[in-house]
Symmetry: D2
Subunit: 139 residues, 4 copies
């Protein structure tokens, strides 16, 4: 963490009091922390607009492991994207359903492409990609 | 507009310089204005979570006016929601396609319900509801 | 409207019965109409990913018209984007607050840029852009 | 998996050919599979609207582990929600940044609340909750 700067923000009193309620509802300790989160969210969103930028995505797949040869197919797609996938986590949701969570790192475009291929595989019930960040430039 | 309060926000220098780039890219004149917009967006989002709160929605419908009796059906649904719909605007997009923009005001729940009924009418190609605000408590 | 094709979709019985409940909750008359809407929504989303494609956006701006010279500034930005803006609609929400709804048509990139400039103008409390469509290739 | 039903969907030829392009771009093998995914996404979205329903969320947190006592605080919040958190996964993104992925299962409301508390903790740079499903009623 580098140098910290303090600057002033002017807000109408009514708006400020509504913001303070929001902060407390969302468990923020200070206004600064809530504002930093709003700013960092806007920056992460902007990062994902540049498709070539290195970033991090977390893909959640829910599927029925009894589905014929599904895990074989998912493994094969993952092996074609070895350089993107850092790790994966498996949860047995019930007798039929599995949740697989994959952490991907690379250009936003490639993360989206691999996530789409896994999601569209027959037998995957739900796939959703969470756009997060390497954290590198977000202090 | 009431009393204006000025308070300090502390931010790491790197984060601040990235935020300044974002502000300039998004045409904000000052950091305060950008932060006020982030705050107001969060508050509008929160307003829509309370389904009973009075708010404002703008519904866009794109449809083919040649579609059998479509405008009749849309008009009928609108008349059942007279108390919600403030006004509407019509644009002839081309020989076939019309855009109708409706401004609705009332409890969030009722706005969503009417918007859904209009969107699901056969012949409507695309319907999307924009969640905005009465502006009343946002200064 | 051109030729209509009928094709078969296979669905598990449980999934189908849950889909039927969703259709009825969302006021769809037939499964086909609900499926067409899901498909058209996916296509409109895809259209907006191509920044150069001609499309239609509806921008809602809520602002306080007492704010010093705000309408002058908004008018000026609109005049710089004359070729994009088809029309606008004005609603007096209360003594202070106005809603202005603008219909824009042009490349997605230009619509976003103009919407961003208007939204970031000091005194605009809330700006949100609704991504819709010319309807041209959506039957 | 139970009984499979086949039913007909009618679509205009132009819309169908655009949908086929979308399917191929998104790596779907068949139209049925793409339509099933659109339907399941709509159902998962609906599930999350009922706050009391049991569902599954995947929370991604990016934070600087050098930040004073942050992991202690995150651990404490997690221990207050032991019944919700199934497991977590840790990735060292670089010398400073960690990614922690938590799998939560329970009523949507409780998942959101715990996710919000973790996200708002000072030092967490980015927190985002992915709304997925137990898969139970989605075949």
């Amino acid at each position: 963490m580098g140098k910290t700067i303090r600057f002033g923000v002017s807000l109408d009193l009514d708006l400020l009091s509504r913001f303070d309620s929001l902060c407390s509802q969302k468990s923020y300790q200070t206004r600064s922390e809530a504002i930093r989160d709003l700013i960092r969210n806007a920056l992460v969103q902007q990062q994902w607009e540049d498709e070539e930028l290195e970033t991090v995505g977390v893909l959640s797949l829910v599927y029925d492991h009894h589905h014929s040869d599904l895990s074989g197919k998912l493994t094969q797609i993952q092996h074609e994207a070895l350089d993107l996938i850092i790790t994966s986590l498996h949860v047995h949701l019930d007798h039929h359903n599995c949740l697989e969570v994959l952490v991907l790192r690379g250009p936003g475009k490639d993360i989206r492409h691999t996530a789409q291929k896994l999601t569209s595989t027959r037998g995957v019930k739900h796939g959703s990609l969470n756009l997060t960040t390497t954290g590198e430039e977000l202090v």
